[in-house]
Amino acid sequence: MKTSKAEFDATCSLFINSVNNYFRHLTEIDSELNVPYIKQSEGLVLKDYTGMIGISGNRKGFVYISADRHMYEDLIKIFIGIDDPSDEDILDMAGEISNVVAGNVRANLGANFMISVPVVFQGMPSQLKIPSDVSIYVIPIVWNNHEAYVVIGLQ
């Protein structure tokens, strides 16, 4: 039982660290983890913009990286220095984060994990591609006073 715990820990850490690393490496501001919780798919609430990474292979599931517009605005401001980015910029930014996280995770998970190219969407989609029998862990990550979710649903 501890195996899967170790694996669970490793997988979660991979995504969390990847996100943390993204913030720390590019903004030099550390992010913090809030108390996570478990949700059923019907009760899941996402933030303004979300990048979705699909996972297939030995374990199937998904990882969402979701945050409010303000956070993306802050990032763009730090990276590029513009104050009022367009919606397109925000989507671009959200996609970029998911891209990088997915790419990094892919390098570390090994051959048994297939990771899809992230899809970025705004708001809550009408239907989430979530398998019904998985526990969904919502991990709130606080960066620069913004809360982002790393949502992990893995078989």
């Binding site: 490496h25 970029e96 891209n99």
Partner: protein, 123 residues
């Protein structure tokens, strides 16, 4: 040194641009896809090109092939979130001279460019 930035994400293009602000290099253009990139290469013959791999239309590797045909002296640095080794090696095979994984910050870029341009050889 004249640089062309090729990335489908405008945010990424701007991030690279901004991060290289303090680096001694002149950015002569940016391109969101392979076709646009090739046009600029043909027209302006940049010394250095940063190239994303996953792009709509003509992807980075195909674009690299074309670049090497029209301007083989160009020093191409791949900047990608895609961590597939074979793809990266193929890029080297095709003539790329540098490689960076996203996310990249100013230091990463500066170091990578130093290596690419053989600056600060005593590192």
């Amino acid at each position: 040194m004249r640089l062309l930035i090729v990335d489908d994400s405008s945010i990424m293009r701007r991030i690279i641009e901004k991060n290289l602000k303090d680096y001694d290099i002149e950015i002569i253009g940016t391109a969101p896809d392979g076709h646009k990139a090739l046009e600029i290469v043909k027209e302006k013959k940049p010394d250095v090109i940063t190239l994303d791999i996953t792009m709509p239309g003509m992807d980075g590797l195909a674009c690299l092939d074309e670049i090497m045909v029209v301007h083989p002296a160009a020093k191409v640095m791949i900047i990608t979130a895609l961590s597939d080794k074979l793809t990266g090696l193929r890029a080297l095979d095709k003539g790329a001279r540098g490689f960076l994984y996203k996310p990249v910050n100013a230091d990463d870029l500066a170091n990578a460019f130093d290596r690419l341009l053989k600056r600060n050889e005593n590192k």
